[in-house]
């Protein structure tokens, strides 16, 4: 297995995932397990689950966590570059074309309509994230705090994220300690 093979496979994965990391799993299964037998099913699910808990692009995390333990450093780096390269090239092309035609009235009308569709799509995603992320009073409070702090531009997103991670760690550790005490009693 040569590094360029990993580059090509992950480039193919990059091309065929519309809408980001979550669409990646079935294609990885097909390319790495079914077709080539390079990995086991549980390796894939483990790496994929862990990749979601790390910051940054899920596809890059998955690529590295999947490839590095078995095949080494270079294939891992090459795979993560391969997975993003197609979208970078496509977007450069689109940006260049759009730059030329952005001022046409028809294009502007189209984008006005598109913006309405995008607003509805993001409302839907926001609703799903709310359902998955907020379970109890504490998480509801974190949700409201992040929402208000960003809406009124009181704190930048980086600090909000750091704050949420620290508060979450504290709350969960506290809960774990309490549970431990209850069990011992």
């Amino acid at each position: 297995m040569k590094p360029w093979q990993f580059f090509l496979i992950f480039m193919r994965i990059g091309v065929s995932t519309f809408g980001g990391g979550y669409a990646m799993l079935p294609i990885l299964q097909h390319e790495l397990i079914d077709k080539r037998g390079w990995l086991q099913e549980d390796e894939l699910t483990e790496a994929y689950a862990l990749a979601q808990c790390e910051p940054g692009l899920i596809c890059v995390n998955t690529a590295v966590l999947l490839i590095r333990p078995r095949f080494g450093l270079l294939p891992a780096v090459v795979a993560s570059l391969g997975v993003v390269l197609p979208s970078v090239l496509i977007l450069i092309l689109i940006a260049a074309v759009l730059y030329r035609y952005a001022n046409l009235p028809l294009v502007q009308n189209a984008f006005a309509g598109i913006r309405v569709a995008v607003a509805a799509i993001v409302v839907h995603s926001a609703w799903r994230l709310l359902k998955n992320g907020v379970h109890d009073f504490a998480s509801g409070l974190l949700y409201a705090a992040a929402f208000l702090l960003l809406l009124f531009d009181l704190l930048n997103p980086v600090l909000i994220i750091i704050m949420a991670a620290v508060v979450g760690l504290l709350i969960q550790t506290l809960r774990a300690v309490r549970k431990g005490k209850a069990v011992r009693k």
Binding site: V60, V84, S87, L91, A119
Partner: protein, 183 residues
Amino acid sequence: MICLLLFWEFFKIGLFTFGGGLAALPFLFDLSLRYGWFSQQELADMIAIAESTPGPLAINMATYAGYHTAGIPGSLVASLAMVLPPLTLSLLLCRLLRRYADTSWLERSFWGLRPAVAGLIAAVCCSLIDLALAADLESGLAGGADPLAVLLFILFLPAVFRLKKHPILFIAVGALCGMILQL
């Protein structure tokens, strides 16, 4: 110089986005407020383009924003900056995980991130609705709404919620409606 700044800003986004895809949006909105690199309106258009092309949303947005700011070098710098934090962190984590199998602390800190990211996206949502429905982009919704856009939005919402179709479809319909209604 601008490339250095691009690198730094997108590196930070790569480091602090949890949960993929839309999680980068709050950071990009923040960028549009702090630098004149792209407007909020252009960011909304960027979301549509990113949703309609293959690959991770965050990379699409980094490439587009980079191009907007400093051409092809800008787009390469921004997307590379976005890849580096997950790449290096995952490489480090691979090693660590083999030594310490217990990752419960990671899950514990992630517990607080999920509601916070959801809250951030909800705030972005408000800006996007404001952009899409305002009659005049300068004054926003406070200066009055565009009735046609509001009507379209009211029709779109149940469609997006009920029909589990790919976003591309809705974006295409939105573009058609925009051209026909001359929004």
